[in-house]
Subunit: 406 residues, 2 copies
């Protein structure tokens, strides 16, 4: 089966319109801060949320709204997380109500998300005015404006879409995202909104999302801090006209594949745009004795401050990689592990069976000066594998986060 | 009972001599790289080690040597960790043998430790010459030289000692340490060597060390990376002449108190000297529903990159503190938690029952511009407490670690 990347982001699937404007939550007038995505027809819907015990008010409200497996719109603001405010839930519900009214739908069909500073009361007034201004001007060309409006410390707009055919029916999955990490509180919450014109039940949509999130968004780390407001949502409106996907099978598998493709792409874009990042890091673990072990090892390496700073310095300090493998909380044999480092400039093996190998420092430097670095860990003790994505740790990370509110 | 800080470090207890020299492992001739601590008489001994699966060869050898609960000397080099080398254990054993010969003791009475780059074969020749040169010149004034010789990225020498009286007997516990974290591989391994003239059995010494390490060294974090070579050892030679401490009781308790005092002091010194640090951070958790929860919450906050960068920027971004509490892997109620931030310049409450409180940003800035910051977390749901120590995350951390081997 063929899967093609297409343009249009969240508006690539049939029947979705979107837009983004500056409504006044943020002081900078040139920065859009309010986005809406809307489906012309009813959708099945599913979402996954942060595991943080401190949970943004929008998540509480979305969890409630989406409990019937249906939604038709996403409203998202940047500039304020609406978290740790005693009136947060009330205000988030009010914003849903205003959005629903402007779009002519039910308040419980609205997915709401917010990203920005924690603990500052959110001002509903500019959002109310913004909704009234934005709802009438949503278009099929509005995906980029919407994606721009949810950006915070992001330096690049993040969207993509993938199409495939199920018999005579063309099905498209589109996505937009923001975040310099799953995994950063305050500004850098991870949000991703996915749309599709597939006809799929809410149960199967939910199953597809869960299957994909664990291997993509949940394998992304910038600094290990899990945000209070993380959310990934998906809405599917059925306008592709395919036979309803209501059980496992080839149709479901194809949908999951497309969903995974856009999710991997969003994950990679977020990792590459990690706060202060100069490099995208990917760690592939193969030959692990268990799936969970593969994931833990990949995440341990990609999360290590010392690995991240070494990559920033283009330093093939493989001892730090082995060290990060070694402190992973899982059972495995360290003395079977091989490690390779590669990039478009080449590949070197730096470690065999747990011991270092001699390699050319000059060659290593050339490889590590590239923008995308791959760390391959061959555990040689089983059949499980996993990938994790992250970025280097740089002066700019400290600058961005040492001076964020001021 | 009175506990007094005294001078002399590891040579403060009776019967210990020490020294440190440059032997040639490090290229910089002005940097000492080899230390010996020696007791005139036999000692009981105990040690704790890194939990990393990648474990330095010196740890393997020390674990074997100390298994009989006895030791008389410590040999430690900086500049090379002797880890991930296929001939590492053999060489570490040889270094013990050379040390033992020079000091006229058994090779199995030597505690060996190394700190430096991982995965580079260690050259025994300069160490052999160094041992021969150093062993004859050990003195009771040599503690500072020894403490200096184990420094790597440390900017300050770390030693202290505490004395107390057990009836007519003055007992002293001395310590030296190096490390810009438990918890950094390569250079920044945490090592601490403790000496005492107490008469105490090896079982009770081991029990005392375990009791203290969990609440001190193990509550220190700089960057979350657990080194391959971490070690804390203690030797007690009995020269104080006190009745043998061979069971729990007032004598044991007093010894544990002194041991904890030197350990807290070493922990604080390491946190304050964390790589690139400008501030010492201490997080006190009280009112936790379980001891383990108190420890996890304190460590989660002190480990958060976003809390650490905010502290560097003197930014009272309490949302990040609450966020780090929230993603702690433990069961508790977030909506009972109060948070205070303080320093010698004052104290402010920033969070009550999980919600933010208004506070003066100017006052907060004054408090956070100090060199020692205290974060007090009142969980209000139990009787357990814990403290953790760390430091801010700065440009210099990135600089030190992005450019370490070059």
């Amino acid at each position: 089966m063929k899967f093609n990347k297409v343009n249009g982001g969240v508006c690539a699937p049939k029947g979705f319109i979107a837009g983004g404007i500056h409504c006044g939550i943020r002081k900078n007038h040139t920065k859009k801060d309010l986005a809406i995505i809307f489906s012309e027809t009813e959708c099945t819907a599913a979402a996954v949320y942060t595991q943080n015990k401190v949970c943004g008010a929008p998540i509480t409200v979305t969890r409630h709204n989406i409990s019937d497996g249906r939604a038709r719109a996403v409203i998202c603001n940047s500039g304020n997380a609406n978290t740790c405010n005693s009136d947060g839930v009330e205000k988030a519900a009010l914003i849903c109500k205003l959005t629903a009214k402007a779009l002519g739908i039910k308040p419980t069909d609205v997915i709401i998300a917010s990203t920005g500073v924690i603990g500052q009361p959110i001002d509903v007034e500019p959002i109310a005015k913004g909704i009234a201004a934005l709802a009438p001007i949503l278009t099929t060309d509005g995906a980029k404006d919407a994606a721009e409006a949810i950006m915070t410390t992001d330096t690049k707009l993040k969207e993509c879409a993938v199409s495939f055919r199920l018999g005579p029916h063309a099905i498209t999955v589109g996505a937009m995202a923001k975040g310099s990490g799953m995994i950063n509180p305050n500004m850098a919450t991870m949000l991703s909104f996915i749309t599709s014109d597939a006809a799929i039940t809410s149960d199967m949509l939910s199953a597809a999302l869960k299957a994909v999130v664990d291997d993509t968004y949940n394998m992304l780390t910038v600094d290990g801090d899990t945000s209070t407001n993380d959310m990934v949502s998906v809405m599917a409106n059925g306008m592709a006209g395919n036979p309803l996907i209501d059980s496992p099978g080839p149709g479901f598998d194809a949908f999951v594949t497309a969903l995974k493709m856009v999710s991997v792409e969003m994950t990679r874009m977020m990792a590459a745009d990690g706060e202060g990042a100069t490099k995208l890091l990917q760690c592939n673990v193969t030959g692990a004795p268990a799936k969970e072990t593969a994931k833990k090892v990949a995440k341990s390496v990609i999360s290590s401050s010392l690995v991240k700073t070494a990559m920033f310095g283009a330093d093939a300090n493989w001892g730090r990689i082995l060290c990060a493998i070694g402190y992973t909380d899982a059972e495995f044999k360290i003395d079977r592990i091989d490690v390779y480092i590669s990039s478009p400039a080449g590949q070197i093996q730096v470690c065999k069976a747990g011991f270092g190998l001699p390699f050319s420092e000059a060659e290593a430097k050339q490889i590590l000066l590239e923008k995308e670095i791959l760390i391959d860990i061959l555990m040689n003790q089983g059949d499980f594998s996993a990938s994790a994505w992250g970025c280097d740790l740089t002066y700019d990370y400290v600058k961005i986060n040492g001076d964020y509110r001021t």
